[in-house]
């Protein structure tokens, strides 16, 4: 194999797949990225056996078709450090040489025939969603997913296709984030849990500037995302996810409207003084204002109030400020709506036209 390529193009392609090879694995061959040069062009392919990604490299000339394995870590470091505009890559038995004006680098490489083959994807439900919106949905829900292994799908987000809409939901049992978008495609319903890692890899792999929609295909145990020739396939997780609809309160005693940016800033300020043992900020909704307060004995206390629009009796409720800040900072709404009842009922935050956040209060204080 021998190719001539634009360094920057290659580097960009490499960042798409470079994060996938595992740092530790009993199967060292997958710590490399497979470069496949054919008459049609060059693609990079990486897998950790659960998630795999394939990306085309632009601006290349293939002198000699063939395949070679590039050790992921060293190659991406090299591509970052080199400044030459073009590179020549040639693969012979057991090694790959990168020739740059600066010098030449020989990397020992495994036998490409040992590299796991691309998973076979059986066609299933297929939909199209606006890519930018979908990336926003990932950003707005993934933080709420469980980090530890709980009974909920491990580190996964629920993707639900229903009645022409796609919902993405993350929860760790204390809070739940839900985003919605409309999709074009099959009317068939589907409910799958996607590993967070796959969605994070997707966020890195596709550009939100693309004019094309993101194509999502779901088979019985895999999901595939495709855009502009880039393709990411992931295994699905065991389909155990809480019945999220039951968690979303249907009615509330009080409804509050509040400025998001203002709330976020004030919450950060107040939260400084809840840094002790328990992270907790108390909200007291009354008349046309909310009083935020936090206390940390031995450290101090904070009191702050801001204007709101309140409908209903209001009252006191406490939250872990981090949980709320996580969501406020990925919202782009000017006004946030809060539906609350009391300190043992979940509160509902409407943080966007299609972004809902449910947070369970802290009680007993």
């Amino acid at each position: 194999m021998k190719i001539l390529c634009d360094r920057q193009q290659l580097q960009e392609a490499f960042t798409v797949v470079g994060g996938i090879p595992p740092l530790k694995t009993p199967k060292p061959v997958i710590q490399s990225v497979l470069m496949d040069a054919t008459a049609d062009g060059v693609t990079l392919y990486a897998t950790d056996l659960e998630i795999s990604a394939k990306v085309p490299v632009d601006a290349v000339k293939v002198a000699e078709p063939g395949r070679t394995l590039l050790p992921a870590r060293e190659t991406s470091a090299l591509l970052r450090e080199l400044s030459d505009p073009t590179l020549t890559l040639s693969g012979q038995e057991g090694r790959t040489t990168i020739d740059a004006g600066t010098g030449s680098f020989v990397l020992v490489s495994n036998d490409p025939s040992q590299f796991p083959a691309e998973p076979e994807f059986k066609q299933g439900v297929e939909v199209e969603v606006p890519v930018r919106e979908f990336l926003d949905m990932i950003r707005r829900t993934s933080f709420a997913a469980a980090r530890e292994e709980t009974r909920y799908a491990i580190n996964g987000l629920l993707l639900e296709l229903k009645d022409g809409g796609a919902r993405l939901i993350g929860t760790d049992g204390r809070r739940l984030a839900l985003c919605y978008t409309e999709h074009g495609g099959d009317a068939q319903n589907s409910r799958v849990v996607i590993p967070i890692r796959a969605l994070q890899a997707l966020s890195k792999a596709v550009s939100d500037e693309s004019s094309e929609p993101l194509r999502i295909s779901i088979s019985s145990n895999q999901i595939r995302f495709a855009l502009d020739g880039t393709e990411l396939i992931s295994q699905l997780l065991d389909n155990r996810f809480p019945e999220y609809e039951q968690v979303i309160p249907k009615a509330a005693d009080s409804t509050i409207e509040i400025e998001r940016e203002h709330l976020e800033k004030n919450l950060r300020r107040v939260a400084i003084l809840s840094s002790g043992e328990v992270r907790m900020v108390r909200f007291k909704f009354e008349g046309s204002e909310v009083k935020l307060s936090a206390e940390s004995s031995g450290i101090g206390r904070a009191d702050l109030s801001m204007g709101i629009e309140l409908n209903g009796p209001g009252g006191s409720i406490s939250f872990n400020p981090d949980f709320l800040l996580d969501a406020l900072k990925v919202s782009d709404r000017e006004l946030v709506r809060i539906d609350m009842t009391d300190d043992s009922t979940p509160a509902k935050f409407t943080l966007g036209d299609s972004y809902t956040y449910i947070l369970m209060p802290i009680s007993g204080s």
Binding site: A146, R147, E148, E149, T150, R151, T171, G173, R174, R175, L176, P242, E243, Q246, V247, G276, E277, V278, R279, M280, S296, S297, G298, S318, N320, S344, P346, I358, M360, P361, I362, S363, G364, S365
Partner: protein, 616 residues
């Protein structure tokens, strides 16, 4: 009157091998003497008991009719019916011991009841019971056991050396004696008196006599009462800790036990004071209504089962905690941190080649600026005397607190300054960015800055936690349902209220499941499942499990460790002064939460000895 037990009672009694070695013979016979109301028990051994064991007592004695049945299995005067099994107050109850001993040795019992004019004797050799015959003897009972295992040579071969047997017997007698201060015990080995414990002495004196007076210096008297439950005795300070658990002694209603769950509870109380591998020293007696404890669990009767395990564990935990609090409040003597624990690694003090006598018990005593008897610490007039003496020794002006009335005030008044009192004003040197060396009026003090800071933070967190009324609960959106083993589930539901107090809300979810509705906000980010698993993790007996409280404590600990200044952080002078000011307020200033010492004291006299300016 001795009766043969009805068979159903026999079957309920955990029978088994009673006699394994001379040691067990002595145990059974001394217990019998105590059951017979003896006020004086003498044990005489020949060849470590391998040749003969003779137990004499001044107890009630046998009637001739009793003697007839003495060697009959399941003959006991102590138990008649099943109901009685629930009310065992005597040490023996199986009617098994004499029969077992009679079957493996040549035994003679001579006994006279106090109201009888003459005594009677009976023999039993390898199970062959002889006739009852009159004989001359003083009131009480003498039982002589010769040639143990003469008819089972295999077992005889397994006997240990005379010295080993004797040491075990000595230990045993001391242990039995601690529960009965009203009884006079004597141990004679090959005509030499080895141990003499006069009746009526205090527990501290008896411990001193049996285990060495140096130990007593590091014991604190405790007593806790919860209605019908009482825990009292002596609790060793961390300085008394040992490598083995031979002096971790618990008595339940006068009976020595090796119960695991209660031992765990005691260990928990010591948890932050001992280093890994150290065993606490304590002599504690738990008294509770006899029907709330089942001793009939193990043939040697050293295991017990409690009706209210949590209560039993709780009161012991409380007793130890109060003792440790008391010990921390009391002044620490010069060199005290290392003085009387010669088995602690020397390297701790940084002087690997210290002459042995310097920190040996004898040395520590003569160096002691305080009145000699550490046991004073434990009697009610003690604390203020000790305190005054210590104040005087420090050359400190008599503060108002020194003039306060004595008893029981030591924790609130006098020495809340602890080992760090007055240090802020002292000159110091930071060594290796880790230790602070202070000059004092009487020598020097070395502080481990990390250990001390850890302790300061630990107590700060704990107090804040305790001060907060209701514990904040992070409720769960969706209750997390867990499937559990039936015993785990039962235990958790038993603990439901305690757990709720700590912020963990669980409910029965039917079948093998429980539902978690809320977790302590303090541990907000830990997965509920993990919390429960941690709770259930400790294996074994129910009561041995860490309580939710312990997990919270664990959490404080790790917070403290992470936040604590490290060894290697150079401190500014103001920071050091601040640290010391806080250290004065500590409840337990002597150890970090891992049990490492925070401070070592070297008195002038110790330094002089060390440099051979002073002959020991």
């Amino acid at each position: 009157m001795i009766r043969v037990l009805p068979p159903e009672v026999v079957n309920q009694i955990a029978a088994g091998e009673v006699v394994e070695r001379p040691f067990s013979v002595v145990k059974e016979l001394v217990e019998n003497s105590l059951d017979a109301g003896a006020t004086r028990v003498t044990v005489e051994l020949r060849d470590g008991g391998r040749e003969s064991i003779r137990i004499s007592d001044d107890g009630g004695g046998f009637t001739p009719a009793d003697l007839e049945l003495a060697f009959v299995s399941h003959a006991t005067s102590k138990l008649g019916s099943l109901a009685d099994l629930d009310h065992i107050a005597s040490l023996g109850f199986r009617g098994e011991a004499l029969a077992s001993i009679g079957s493996i040795a040549r035994v003679t019992i001579r006994s006279r009841r106090a109201d009888a004019d003459e005594g009677f004797e009976i023999t039993c050799e390898g199970g062959a019971i002889g006739p009852v015959r009159p004989c001359g003897c003083p009131p009480g009972t003498v039982i002589e056991v010769r040639d143990v295992f003469f008819n089972t040579p295999a077992r005889r071969r397994f006997l240990r050396t005379a010295r080993a047997e004797r040491a075990r017997i000595e230990d045993l007698l001391a242990r039995l004696a601690l529960a009965r201060l009203d009884v006079d015990f004597t141990l004679v080995a090959d005509d030499r008196e080895v141990l003499r414990l006069p009746a009526g002495e205090s527990l501290a004196d008896r411990v001193g006599r049996a285990f060495g007076s140096a130990l007593v210096e590091h014991l604190v008297e405790v007593e806790v009462r919860w209605d019908e439950y009482a825990a009292r005795g002596l609790v060793g300070t961390p300085d008394a800790a040992r490598r083995d658990a031979t002096l971790s002694l618990l008595y339940v209603n006068g009976r020595f036990t090796k119960d695991r769950s209660t031992a765990m509870a005691v260990r928990q109380a010591y948890r932050e004071f001992l280093m890994p591998g150290q065993q606490p020293v304590y002599f504690l007696e738990l008294s509770l209504p006899p029907d709330e404890v089942d001793v009939n669990v193990h043939p040697t009767k050293s295991e017990v089962r409690f009706l209210q395990g949590r209560r039993a564990c709780g009161i012991l935990h409380e007793a130890v905690t109060s003792g440790l609090r008391q010990a921390s409040a009391a002044p620490k003597r010069g060199g005290g941190a290392i003085a009387a624990s010669p088995d602690k690694p020397r390297a701790q003090a940084g002087f690997p080649e210290l002459p042995r006598d310097l920190f040996g018990a004898g040395g520590a005593q003569s160096l002691d600026p305080l009145p000699k008897s550490g046991a004073k610490l434990v009697d009610s007039s003690g604390p203020s005397a000790v305190r005054d003496a210590a104040l005087a020794a420090q050359g400190g002006a008599s503060t108002p607190s020194a003039a306060e009335p004595a008893a029981g005030h030591v924790a609130e008044t006098g020495f809340d300054d602890g080992p760090f009192g007055g240090l802020q004003e002292r000159r110091f040197l930071q060594v290796l960015d880790c230790y602070l060396v202070f000059e004092t009026d009487d020598g020097m003090v070395v502080v481990d800055q990390h250990a001390l800071h850890e302790r300061v933070l630990y107590e700060r967190f704990s107090k804040r936690h305790a001060a907060r009324g209701a514990v904040p609960v992070q409720n769960l959106l969706v209750p997390e349902v867990l499937e559990l083993a039936p015993s785990d589930k039962a235990w958790l539901l038993d603990q439901q209220e305690v757990l709720a107090d700590e912020g963990l809300r669980i409910e029965d979810f039917g079948g093998r499941s429980i539902a978690i509705h809320g977790v302590p906000a303090l541990l907000g980010r830990i997965a509920p499942r993990v919390l429960i698993e941690t709770l259930l993790r400790a294996d074994g007996e129910d009561e041995a499990r860490p309580r939710a409280r312990e997990i919270v404590a664990e959490r404080f600990h790790s917070m403290a460790c992470r936040a604590a200044i490290m060894s290697g952080d150079r401190l500014r002078e103001t920071e050091i002064r601040e640290l010391l000011a806080e250290a004065r307020e500590l409840d337990h200033p002597h150890n970090c939460p891992h049990g490492r010492p925070t401070v070592l004291t070297f008195s002038q006299e110790e330094l002089e000895r060390f440099f051979r300016r002073r002959v020991p």
